[in-house]
Amino acid sequence: MGIHPASIRTSRGGGAADSARRSDSLLTVILFLLPSLALFLIFVVYPILQSVYYSFFNWKGFGPAVDFVALNNYRRILTDRVFLIALKNGLIIIALSLGIQLPLALGIALMVRRDLPGRAFFRTIFFMPYVFSEVMAAIMWLGLYNADPQRGLINALLVLIPGAKPQAWLGDTRLVMPCIFVVLTWKYFGFYMLLFMTGLQNIPAELEEAARIDGANRRQLFQYITLPLLGSTIRISAYMSVLGSLQQFILVWVMTHGGPVNASEVMATYMYRFGFVRFQLGYGSAVAIVMFLICLIFSLVYQRLAPQADYLGAY
């Protein structure tokens, strides 16, 4: 193959040809990026900016937004008792998810990994709730939690115990959050179990064998080898669990509408109530922006703190 004269780099003129080619390829890159960039701008960036804009107005959703209230919506959010309940409930769900749901998922992932009889069966059973739609799961649990022992399975079983009375599971302000958390755990721990199983599979068997020969018993093997090597999976799971908890909506809305008396209110139900039930779209937008900022700050802090190795691959 001959060499095209233009492709020979010379001390003179070559630089110009080079930069021309570079700007050519830059143009190609821009052209190829444009479609997805356009979609991103129209469907992600624009709505966010629009929400920010509306959050400064007392807008009901009809006609143009004209009633400018500056930061009043934000001031109202941060002083509203119900929003603070919603925030507190979000934090409770996060704490319970990290403290109960993830360890449970890890424990079961460790169990179904071993040569347990029927482990494929258990794996499927544990993962199944995750496949259900959230609305379906919520309706199913509404049935189970029904306060009437004739209709709700849990109360039907409870009344079999001498002295026990049926409970209004979702109607009691003290019981409603634990009840919702049970459903959340039931629904999502299978997903985390799957994540952990994948993480466990990525740990070479020889590392655990080497540790066994080095003198590790089961607990030490878990503590010094399995757990540290699962670190990146655990951190990613915790990250997703926190974001999921902050954005929880469907299960709560279908089961309780945030009630009774706002006892199970979460940020998303609060936002929905104002945005789409009471049509205070300006205020709802401000709530959405606050939620967005909380998630954004959490994500940024996580990415700042997570070890680089998580992104490079641990081994």
Binding site: P204, E206, L207, E209, A210, A211, R212, I213, D214, G215, A216, N217, Q220, Y224, I225, P228, L229, G231, A314, Y315
Partner: protein, 370 residues
Amino acid sequence: MASVTYRNVIKKFGEVYAVNNLNIEIADKEFLVLVGPSGCGKTTALRCLAGLEEVTSGEVLIGDQVVNDVPPKDRDIAMVFQSYALYPHMSVFDNMAFGLKLRKVPKDEIKRRVEEAAQILGIEHLLKRKPRELSGGQRQRVAVGRAIVREPKVFLFDEPLSNLDAKLRVQTRAEISKLHQRLQTTFIYVTHDQTEAMTMATRIAVMNKGILQQLDTPQNLYDTPGNLFVAGFIGSPSMNFFPAKLEKADSKLVVKADGFSVNIPDDRAQPYYPLVGKEIIFGIRPEDIHNPTFLPPGIHASNVEAKVDVTELMGNEIFLYLVSGKDSYIARVDPRTRFAIGDKVQVAFNMDKFHIFDPSVDRENPPAVR
């Protein structure tokens, strides 16, 4: 320091025998190499000793103690894995110290032992690094170091050199031999590479299809292989084999192959009389086929006519790929030989060094007759 014994050890995976009735007694301080092709059961045998696999039946002993039910951590062994199995989240120091920490060895003692091992292996400057910051050769040393600091009764090596490049492999081979001299401990080493086996072992156990084929010193295995498999496996290039018939002519025993006939010297003929008239397999190593011009003195040579198919000059020797009749074979001849491809030449078989195998006893793996 301890002896190791495999007594009637069977390991089955489902219906497949990975190790089939293995019996080996390994003396204290011995360097035993388990060698064989992939899937021959050598690694499984090692893992049974390590406690990573349970034996299906039989007994494994370390010293006088049957260890079948002893967990790996209590067997007082150390193992170097093919992949090195270094803990990726620990520094080199912590990798080496891990076993000692678990055994609650005092900190200053751990430090002393790790530094001493690091010095032996020349990895003192790497102690703070993570495994991913090391080259293959350095990782291999760390893996060996992790085994050394434990001061175990028995060292197990599972193909520790197979991930190294050829040059480093030769160098590390010598270092492992030196280490054995220095530590004076029982070494059990698994490899598929017969050169590694020959160069390092006190004794070699050749395995195939889960069965121990022969257990002997490297030299004896080379000189007097017990069967066709061992004869073909030990030595590089492999021994040449020729389907042949043993005949008697003028009171001499003659090996008749497709493309040649050679006489068996009278002083070696005795064991082969019962095979007269039978099909045999005649074996001769490439280095026992000479250029008649450069014949070593004092050997019984028998000339064979051959056609030169390929020649490979190695510098200190020449490999000739020869054809006689339907049989192709390799000769390793003096580098002064000037044979060209296509030449019809005479080569001399050293009839003091041939092997005869009897397929009527076992068609698949005929035993040697001596």
